[in-house]
């Protein structure tokens, strides 16, 4: 029972924590020439930590061809596509980054809340009252 108490929220929390670092870096380099804003494909990364979610091709026969690297969604850092390119080569767009930052903030707190609720649930079950 205690192998997987928190379900996906444990990994989601870690990933949201990492994403905050990436987004904070984008914000920090908002005025750096030639800096390219980066982000992760959250669903793909979270999926890659679960065995079922990323749709991999199984190569069960010797004649099967393994998929090319990059052909399937992976959990690597990606570059953001700017809505309007800037002349100094910087692709950080403040409103986009701020929105992503606050969205990630809410999602982090949501994951945390789920974990807290689970802990409270278990404490209630253990105390039995």
């Amino acid at each position: 029972m205690f192998d997987n108490i928190f379900g996906i929220h444990e990994q989601a929390l870690l990933l949201h924590g990492q994403r905050i670092g990436i987004l904070a870096n984008n914000l920090a380099n908002a005025d750096t020439p030639n800096f390219k804003a980066r982000d992760i494909d959250f669903a793909a990364v979270l999926g890659s930590s679960d065995e079922q979610l990323p749709l991999t091709l199984s190569t069960s026969h010797a004649a099967h061809i393994a998929p090319l690297e990059g052909a399937l969604p992976s959990g690597e850092l990606k570059y953001r596509n700017p809505y309007q390119a800037s002349l100094d080569g910087n692709t950080v767009e403040m409103p986009v980054e701020q929105a992503a930052f606050s969205e990630n903030n809410v999602r982090y707190q949501a994951s945390l809340q789920f974990i807290n609720n689970r802990i409270a649930e278990l404490q209630l079950a253990i105390a039995g009252q």
Binding site: I20, I22, N25, D31, T32, N105, Q109, L112, N116
Partner: protein, 141 residues
Amino acid sequence: MSLFNVFNTAGSALNAQTIRLNTTASNLANAESVNGDPSKVYRARHPVFKTMLDPSDTGFDGENATAGVRVLGVVESTSPPTMRYQPDHPLANKDGYIYMSNVNSIEEMTNMISAQRSFATNVEAVNTARDLLLKTISMGH
């Protein structure tokens, strides 16, 4: 954990923006400086920002996810200083000319606003990271 790196990243940006504000203040203070020698007149200074990678942080698939920003150096503007004929000025050269600094006050003011906004954004990032860390520490209470 990346949440702690936010402090380094945002801190480096706060530092860089402070240097930018300092150069702006210096430029505005010297906007009216004059000299009789064009090579000695004050020239507008601007910092050059560069992304700084943190080699210790290889959290994301071995790639540097978080970094920061640092000031590579401060460069002087190369635009020519304005010449003005004012023979009664104590600093005028033998032909009666003085040279004004090449500071563009409007450019400096917009730079200042931009630096202020970036500074505020990074302070907000630090506050958010701190709040989240505090909430994480009190997990289960």
